[in-house]
């Protein structure tokens, strides 16, 4: 796998779309390309943010936040 192919696979990898046999090859190439590969994969995770930000924000009930904060504060107490 050359680096261009690795870049293609990386974009599939970050959204979990690689098939098992492709994943094996991908991991081999990832090792081969080292830090350059890790940097590129990190860059591809920007796609996650983009997909999430493409959605219209949904409203959630205020009770959710109240419950969450109660749980967090209760857990924090000794």
């Amino acid at each position: 796998m050359n680096f261009k192919e690795f870049q293609n696979q990386s974009r599939l990898y970050v959204i979990g779309a690689l098939e098992a046999e492709e994943l094996e090859e991908f991991e081999k190439a990832r090792k081969k390309f080292g830090q350059k590969a890790e940097d590129y994969i990190g860059e591809c995770y920007g796609l996650h943010e983009a997909f999430a930000l493409s959605l219209r924000p949904a409203k959630s009930s205020a009770a959710i936040k109240d419950r969450l904060m109660s749980m967090v504060r209760a857990r924090k107490e000794p």
């Binding site: 599939l12 796609l47 959630s60």
Partner: protein, 231 residues
């Protein structure tokens, strides 16, 4: 840690549904990570500052992160599981997990929003798979697909015209893709489907699905990079 700043950040607007009028900022960090993030108001703590405060067990920082991103994360969860009550429960669980797992977050590996979105997506897809409701969601998806083949493109209502800048720009990139590519990416990202599952669901050869995903993702990736260059 400037906790007082985090606690008394009066200029930060809550980002509830429809309220956020954020400007887009597309950045490239030193670690070569490019990212499209909502721009914060002057004086507001950054996401990274909030994450660091959460790592120091400051509940107020979690409250601020919740205000900032609950709408986006809930939209993501809803897109996967299509059930309002379950989405609310999952949203609460995810923010609890953010609190519990904050120590595992490393800014070396990415940005807080990316980390949260990855976590939320994984939890939502896990939830979808575990539940018996999977079949029902499939049926709903089928109906939606029939009614609206391009899941990312919505009718142009007045509300849509007043899209936040961030969404508008990203949607422009996504909506520039052919519908088949959008559908393949939608099924992979929001449904967690493998290429084989997409091929079976859409009655399309596996090689075609792979090509659609590769081309579509490359165009989105390149489009986001272009956005970064323009802004």
């Amino acid at each position: 840690m400037r906790q007082s700043k985090l606690i008394s950040s009066p200029r930060r607007k809550p980002s509830g549904a429809g309220k956020a009028r954020k400007r887009v900022r597309v950045t490239k960090t030193g670690a070569r990570q490019f990212s499209v993030t909502p721009q914060l108001e002057p004086g507001a703590p950054s996401d990274l500052e909030l994450m660091k405060a959460i790592q120091s067990e400051n509940p107020e920082a979690l409250a601020q992160l919740y205000d900032r991103y609950n709408g986006i994360l809930k939209a993501l969860i809803l897109r996967v599981i299509h059930n309002e009550a379950e989405a609310d429960d999952l949203l609460q669980e995810i923010f609890m997990e953010i609190w519990n797992q904050a120590k595992n977050f490393s800014s070396q590996k990415g940005k807080p929003l990316g980390w949260m979105v990855t976590l939320a997506r994984r939890r939502a897809i896990d939830g979808l798979r575990k539940k018996q409701a999977y079949a029902r969601a499939e049926e709903r998806l089928q109906n939606e697909t029939e009614q609206q083949p391009d899941a990312w493109v919505h009718n142009s209502t007045e509300e849509e015209i007043v899209l936040s800048d961030t969404r508008s720009l990203i949607r422009n990139v996504i909506s520039g893709l052919p519908p088949a590519q959008q559908q393949a990416i939608d099924l992979a990202f929001f449904r967690g489907m493998s290429q084989r599952e997409i091929a079976a669901k859409t009655n399309t050869p596996l090689g075609t699905v792979k090509t659609r995903l590769e081309l579509g993702l490359k165009k989105i990736y390149d489009g986001l990079k272009e956005l970064r260059g323009e802004l």
